[in-house]
Symmetry: C2
Subunit: 349 residues, 2 copies
DNA sequence: TATTAGCACTCAGATAAAATGAGTGCTAAT
DNA sequence: ATTAGCACTCATTTTATCTGAGTGCTAATA
């Protein structure tokens, strides 16, 4: 048989790959044949294990840092592990307890809740925790209020069904009084409430203009709403617990540290990467090169979208080295995103 | 003469200390006598230099990492350097240009401005940049608006003279309509505008209650204002550019890294440290042990308050290792805080 | 045919010894 | 007061050696 040809692994090879990834994740050191067969009670001689490892290496799942070193998983190896070999890890009672409490306790103030969820993700996983707040586009408006800041400056306050508050300043060219603004607020609230930002931008405002015809009274109100909505899709990103990753021994390597900091410093880039997968409805793992950025080296990103209704509005996850405890991180991210979804849905009823 | 007695340094000793601190700041390596006398053209033999260094060490300004190593400044040495020996460094045209542009350009949105100032401080100094936003206590209110979030939940929006916006949620026990809230907003705005949070808390609200007597109409409005003002002194802190410090060679030392991250992770603690010096009207340098936290090791913090009127309302600065370019960092922080003060004063006219 | 024992070989990492060099303090002469 | 000279110190660098866990390959075995 041509060993370098990619094929599904047989049972024994699978078992070896699984155990090897597991061992490497916990020890961080290349895995050699002798100690490995012992520790994991394979009923095999080291020699046979070497043969198996050789095959796995030929197929691209393993590599050696140097000749005469043990093997470590390649990105492809991790990928296969995550896709095909991952045991379903049950979060411990404590862990799911922590998650639930963390999500529920901070319900009062959504922004703080997101930060604390990022912290929780980091604490439980011991990697960096990431939360992307809901994109405004799919946020459903409950209430709008306009506040005068200055002669030509107005603050628009959007209150979403979920209780998020979004401030946006707009500059207009006419002078209005706060009384006008109060009337506008009432008008806009009654007309726009129940619609998402996106729907309003795409349709509702247009309809409204038609309906108003050439009655001038509320034209300015519509203008203001339009201005405010224009660039309102900004999504905040919270990253917490980077110190967890900085303390890892592999971070002593210049290259890895650089790579990690590069991602952490480039928040917009990171949002962008995460948002590529906005339509996925399950946990998304990006392993090493799959992050598709030449500056990123040896990092993995695990994310999952959370949703309101059947709309994915935001995402959360963890970020760390490729040598990551996927077995734990994946269900953590999964569970958390579901908890957040369910909370948001309850709130937006 | 008793060498270990502290006394003012003579001219030559001063020159040596100044040059030595300067040399150590740039090289990061203990400074020895031979190369030092050459490089800085002291007309002295290395032996004499050693004598001088010995004296400076006896007086506590220098220390040796180990016998037979060169000298490095102690915290006390840095302190003396900063207090007495610092040349007035003129920011370059470019640098002050950057500062001014950075402060002015973002004027539109104060929160973003503060973040970008923190970034700028970091870029120019190459340490971490810190900004503490204005304390609400001394912020003068221009306008108040109340928005209904839920049956018993109200969002209060304070607009300050400087254009800062402060959101605060309060929970009340009576049901009110948005129309009520509009009337309340008008009432509160006219009664409270022009006063600072502190004045309102301490006096204005009380006076107002007296004035209202047992007219019930606006009692609830006053209640809401009181609730909102209650815990409204929170001051946001922005830290940017920590990667600049993480990349420094000394951060390879576990202990220093830990210490640095400890401060960065403890934002409330950091605010607290900075706020200890809220009454200072000049640049404040905290060197090493002066930070007075057992967990902080080998770090320096340079801050300066910025003010509105003659009230210090917030602070900004840089944070890095004790081996810091004080000569540049001090005027940078100074200049920036003045620029921010002047901007805020212009805005609050 | 799959497994294993045996063996020669590799190589990172640890340990030890030696050489280097930039530094010191001290003393005596200037 | 300054300096030359000298013996001494010690982190760092260099070099050599050793060790141990690893490998691949081959031939014997089940």
């Amino acid at each position: 048989m041509n060993k370098s040809e990619k094929r599904l692994l047989n049972e024994r090879e699978s078992a070896v790959l699984r155990a090897l990834v597991y061992e490497y994740i916990s020890s961080g050191k290349p895995v050699g044949s002798r100690s490995f067969v012992q520790k994991y009670s394979f009923n095999l001689s080291p020699a046979t294990m070497r043969n198996i490892m050789f095959d796995l290496e030929a197929m691209g799942f393993l590599m050696q840092p140097h000749t005469s070193a043990g093997r470590i998983p390649t990105d492809i190896g991790y990928r296969y592990y995550v896709d095909s070999l991952l045991d379903t890890y049950e979060l411990t009672i404590d862990e799911s307890q922590i998650i639930r409490e963390d999500v529920i306790r901070k319900e009062v103030h959504l922004e703080k809740m997101f930060i604390s969820i990022a912290k929780m993700l980091s604490n439980v996983s011991s990697y960096a925790g990431i939360v992307l707040t809901p994109r405004a586009d799919f946020t459903v408006i409950k209430y709008i209020e306009l506040v005068q800041l200055d002669l030509y400056e107005i603050l628009t306050v959007f209150v979403s069904r979920t209780g998020m508050i979004l401030n946006k300043r707009v500059t207009i060219s006419e002078i209005v009084t706060q009384d006008d603004l109060h009337r506008f607020s009432k008008f806009l609230s009654s007309e726009l409430s129940g619609y998402s930002f996106q729907m309003i931008k795409e349709k509702v405002l247009g309809d409204l203009r038609v309906k108003l015809g050439n009655s001038m009274q509320f034209q300015l109100a519509v203008d203001i709403a339009e201005l405010a909505l224009n660039d309102c899709s900004e999504q905040a990103i919270f990253i917490e617990g980077i110190e967890n990753v900085l303390h890892l021994p592999e971070m002593l390597e210049e290259r890895r540290l650089k790579s990690f900091l590069y991602v952490i410093e480039n928040k917009p880039k990171l949002s962008q990467i995460i948002n590529k997968y906005v339509n996925e409805n399950h946990v998304n793992t990006l392993i090493g090169v799959e992050i598709e950025d030449e500056n990123v080296y040896d990092c993995s990103l695990i994310t999952s979208n959370y949703s309101i209704g059947n709309m994915n509005v935001g995402a959360l996850g963890v970020f760390g080295p490729t040598r990551m405890d996927y077995e734990k991180a994946v269900p953590l991210v999964d569970y958390t995103s579901k908890a957040v979804s369910s909370l948001l849905n309850r709130m937006s009823k």
